[in-house]
């Protein structure tokens, strides 16, 4: 059996899990912890937000249940609609995480679709690379743009499957396939996965991993769905490595034709 334990390599680090998860939308911090543990994810995204002045200091902190010692914390720039806001957010994140420079860049173009503003994304990506950030970039499923982002020095390129939180699954498989074929850095599908088979399909297309949040957090049973996603990612990866059978329009018998009684 071919070895399918080759790890996912991002910015020089090896990860055994190819499932990356967000930490938003959970009922509470305990459900967050339990779901992320069940997912087996090693990279978890967080948002950077203003402290609520005067909030109860005793309140548990996200990074207490997801310690950077155990998880790779991936701060994102969710909510940023300009390159400048994204840059400031990344700089704050790096200070917050003691110089950890891996960031997920997203510069949004519109609140209805939460699709990226690719022009602003290019500007922010270029500057972040200059400032020695290791940039994982959320982008359109545009093969030309994805290649450009790789050439700029992004450490991972993360085309969307469908709108963030839509759960519609991969809308354009040809684009994802083309992006994967052209890539020299990891390609992770980011956003739009709705259920386990969507994640498996992304991996069967040859993606190096999948980043999701809503599909787990908004399932009726997030912890069980997290476990399902872990298996779906592994199943899709192994199916990709195993090499699927060819599609045929007509049937092909599984049992031998000769030796039937009559």
């Amino acid at each position: 059996m071919s070895n399918n334990t080759n790890p996912l390599k991002i910015a020089g680090h090896d990860y055994q899990s190819r499932l990356l998860v967000g930490t938003g939308k959970y009922k509470d911090i305990e459900q967050t912890r339990a779901a992320i543990e069940a997912s087996g994810a090693e990279i978890v995204t967080v948002a950077i937000r203003r402290t609520n002045i005067g909030q109860n200091p005793g309140e548990p902190n996200l990074l207490d249940v997801l310690p950077p010692s155990q998880y790779t914390i991936l701060p994102n720039t969710a909510g940023c609609y300009t390159a400048e806001d994204a840059l400031r957010t990344c700089r704050l994140a790096r200070e917050l995480l003691d110089g950890h420079s891996l960031v997920k860049l997203e510069v949004l173009g519109d609140p209805k679709t939460l699709y990226p503003d690719m022009q602003a994304t290019f500007i922010a990506a270029e500057q972040l690379v200059k400032e020695n950030f290791q940039v994982m970039v959320y982008c359109m499923d545009d093969p030309i743009a994805c290649k450009r982002l790789e050439e700029m020095g992004c450490v991972a390129v993360m085309p969307l499957a469908a709108p963030i939180g839509s759960g519609l699954g991969i809308q354009n498989r040809y684009n994802i396939l083309t992006i994967v074929e052209n890539a020299k850095v990891p390609i992770l599908v980011d956003a739009g996965v709705g259920t386990a088979s969507d994640a498996a399909i992304a991996m069967e297309l040859g993606c190096d991993g999948v980043l999701m949040n809503t599909a787990i957090a908004e399932a009726k049973d997030p912890v069980l769905m997290a476990r399902a996603m872990k298996k779906a990612i592994e199943a899709g990866r192994e199916a990709f490595l195993a090499g699927r059978m060819p599609r045929r329009r007509y049937a092909s018998a599984s049992s031998p034709l000769d030796g039937t009684i009559n």
Partner: protein
């Protein structure tokens, strides 16, 4: 003096450094990052940084997000 902290106006007696402000806000010991007048302030410099009237501060933390 009047400071702008996370978008709100805050009035404080001088002298006051960044470390004092964080204590005043009940945020001591929390994992934070601070941007002061557009510049990131390393944690190690909080005590050395005197605040003055009109300073703009952003104090952020990590929260759940995807």
């Amino acid at each position: 003096m009047k400071l702008q902290v996370n978008g709100d106006v805050l009035e404080l007696p001088e002298p006051c450094n960044l470390d004092n402000l964080i204590q005043h806000l009940g945020l001591s010991g929390r994992r934070l990052a601070v941007e002061m007048n557009g510049e990131i302030i390393p944690r190690s410099e909080y005590a050395a940084r005197q605040l003055s009237d009109g300073d703009q501060l952003e104090i952020v933390q990590a929260i759940g997000g995807g």
